[in-house]
Symmetry: C2
Subunit: 301 residues, 2 copies
DNA sequence: CCGTTGCGATACCTGAGCGGTATCGTTCCG
DNA sequence: CGGAACGATACCGCTCAGGTATCGCAACGG
């Protein structure tokens, strides 16, 4: 007689017999007749080359090896259940890993809010944040190292899709000693002859270019006194009295000593936060994340 | 179409397809043709209600859920292998749990030597020592809480078997200030009028009765000045100059200040160590342990 | 003491389902 | 545009899981 490899059937039958201490009782429990049970357990024993049960006039008793195998079998069956559960959860986007690319001032407010909400709704999903500039995000998306990316703006890229997920207002960051600090609102004309700190220096075009185009459309030329890498450095310079800078709403959570934020005139002074993803990514996880993003971030800035 | 429950076959086929990134290649690896593979994987997906693979013109790609299930499947297959290994080891007595009952002075030398040797030969067997007197050992053996018991002697018990596993010589423990401390050997006549400490007080008959019968067979009557519970207490009293006591070779490892051991005349002054076990216990673990006992303890005391 | 009862094992049969061959539809490549 | 390679499908044969009937054995009750 030649037997194939072990199957879950052997484990189910064996554990049922052990738990019922009887072939007949186990057969009832499993809704099969008794002879197949006998046969499967015999096969299992032959397969293992080990006697698992001691057949006695009144029911069966486990051997030492049988006790060991019973524990193992129970464990395997439970793990198989778990495997199915976990797979089905993964299919519904409730389990897995989400790699998110972030860059710029959105990391200070919008992204944390999104992530907090997502973790609450999908606690078994591991979220990994990657600080990558736009080019890095696009490369990582293509190489499947990233599921979504956030950036100030994107251009059309084959195989990728992007949406604007948030409109933010612009604010002027000034030192409290500056006369603007007392103003309720400011407009672009006010800024034209002020010492302006701009960012980011690399990864252009970006936030700065959007800002500059707003100046140009008003036929204004800002006085750029310093270019820095990021918003934190820019605000730090403002804090030291070096000049003014512009910041999105997300940056308002950045509180540095002596720095006051004054809202800029609303008209057209909007800055976008965009989300980019693969066009062919139809995973439930991504869909779930997009839903959370749109639920958390207001449809209108 | 109605499918039964998941089987290991599904896991083996699925993992092979994932690892080969192709149904055809996996089919070769598994020594089956391609169509059954397709069918089993389709069944698996239907069983789970989840799409696991993305069929593409050049081979297959895992979905997110598929990646999760692949990890689970690998794990399950590995654990199944382990389960078989462990069961086979248990059948050979290389894995399991050995409950050993011990009592009296043998715990100081003979038993530790046996256990050390056994642990070396069977490292995956858990050894649990239980300090039980003879009656406790017999009850525990009957209730299967014990595999073997060691004691000074046993009487015939239905369902149980016992063997003498060690003959030990008797020694006289005296204080170094006592004149006997300088003697090379002593005999029973020397002890007749000496203040004798005897043990154990309970669990009779035991060591003390064996000793007393040696006196009586020589028509001697020892001067018992104190009965104590165990050999440690007896030696402690000797250490404080209270009197003499008799101790087996195993007790020689008990070194207390001022205590000197002098061997007793060899003839008939032997004390047995016995091992008791269930008559119906044919486990490989017990057989292995008995072999170690006989290998470690000298066949002649 | 012996018939009864309950256990697991065995013998034999039937059909579901696993694996086989042949072939299809699609996509990629030369 | 024809050929090659992929997975899916159709269909077939045979293995083997599960069914029924029965056996052999041990424990128990009258």
């Amino acid at each position: 007689m030649k037997f194939g490899p072990i199957e879950f059937r052997h484990l189910r039958y064996f554990t049922a017999v052990v738990e019922s201490k009887s072939f007949r009782a186990a057969a009832q429990r499993l809704h099969v007749s008794q002879p197949p049970l006998t046969r499967q357990v015999q096969q299992l024993e032959e397969l293992l080359g080990v006697s698992l049960l001691e057949r006695q006039p009144r029911g069966v008793e486990l051997t030492a090896a049988g006790a060991v195998f019973y524990e193992e079998a129970r464990n395997l069956l439970a793990l198989a259940e778990q495997a199915i559960d976990r797979t089905q959860m993964a299919a519904q986007g409730q389990l897995g890993r989400l790699d998110i690319g972030v860059f710029g001032s959105a990391v200070f407010d919008a992204i944390p809010r999104v992530i907090q909400a997502f973790r609450l709704a999908y606690p078994k999903v591991d979220i990994v944040l990657h600080n990558l500039d736009r080019a890095g995000q696009i490369r990582a998306l293509r190489e499947r190292r990233l599921t979504v990316g956030f950036n100030r703006f994107f251009v059309e890229e084959v195989g990728l899709l992007w949406d604007v997920v948030l409109h933010e207002q612009l604010n002027v960051a000034v030192h409290e000693a500056h006369p603007f600090a007392k103003r309720e609102r400011l407009n672009f004309d006010d800024l034209a002859d002020q010492p302006l700190i701009v960012y980011p220096r690399t990864s252009r075009p970006s936030f700065i270019d959007q800002v500059l185009s707003m100046f140009h459309s008003r036929h204004l030329t800002p006085q750029i006194v310093q270019e820095v890498d990021d918003v934190v450095t820019a605000i730090a310079l403002v804090s030291s009295g070096f000049g003014l800078t512009l910041a999105s709403d997300s940056a308002l959570t950045l509180r540095l000593p002596g720095v006051v934020y004054v809202p800029l005139e609303v008209t057209e002074a909007q800055i976008d936060l965009c989300m980019i993803r693969r066009a062919d990514d139809e995973s439930a996880l991504l869909r779930a994340f997009i839903n959370v993003v749109h639920a958390v971030l207001p449809p209108r800035g």
